[in-house]
């Protein structure tokens, strides 16, 4: 497996205030995507659009206000199907602020990318051709 993608941020509000932004669709649409469908309980669906890519997953752990874990994948992507990777968000209180750390694990390894590259490249190439990209 590849190294996880990690990101973190310090927010001037306690975890109790920040946590619902990961679970309440009305709050999630303010920052993560234009459209979000979230059913924040273990086994519940998570569906958002990431730059036009339909990201889909399921909540695994919902432990307010400190930890939320959900699976993640992109509909139609053989190398990252829904449910294939995992995002863990940890909210740590620091005084009256929060430190939010996000870790995205189990992204496709190089071997997996390699084994899927052909279909993906074919697909991308055909798309680009149809979109009228001039051959470089």
């Amino acid at each position: 497996m590849t190294e996880p993608v990690t990101a973190s941020v310090r927010i001037a509000a306690p975890p109790e205030v920040v946590f619902p932004y990961f679970t309440d669709p009305a709050l999630a649409v303010k920052w993560i995507a234009k459209a979000a469908y979230l059913d924040a309980r273990p086994g519940g669906t998570l569906a958002i659009d990431v730059r036009g890519n339909p990201a889909r997953g399921e909540y695994v752990v919902v432990d307010p206000p400190h930890r939320v874990v959900f699976t993640w994948g992109i509909e139609g992507r053989e190398d990252l199907p829904p449910g294939s990777s995992t995002v863990e968000v940890v909210l740590r209180a620091d005084g009256d602020e929060s430190v939010v750390t996000l870790t995205h694990r189990d992204l496709p390894s190089e071997d997996q990318r390699r084994s899927h590259w052909e279909g993906w490249a074919e697909f991308l190439g055909l798309l680009a051709e149809q979109a009228g990209s001039s051959p470089a």
């Binding site: 990690t6 205030v17 920040v18 932004y21 995205h104 990318r113 052909e118 990209s133 051959p135 470089a136």
Partner: protein, 118 residues
Amino acid sequence: MPTGPDTASPAGTDVVLRALADPHRREIMRLIQDSELPAGQIAAHFTLTQQAVSQHLTVLKRAGLLEERREGTRRLYRFQPASLEPVREMLDEFWPDALQRLKRVVERDHPRRGAKGS
């Protein structure tokens, strides 16, 4: 992001897309997917002129999709899988950007009460 002098700079998605938007170039990628091949052997698969094949190889190389190695007078090509990393790239930018937006939104929605200036 620093890159070595001789490594193809991380090509933008559009460069990769344009490189792949050609059936001959996709065929070349299939040929070198599992084995490194010399230019001549790649050209032999096509009815194109050697020059045309060489141009296709250049486009693919610039997009970072293949790696060129010289062995004497021969040039050998092989697939560069790291170039096809749109998922990773997408997420490498997506999560940090998203968390910065989260910070702005939360701090706007919940201004500190009684904050005494800066």
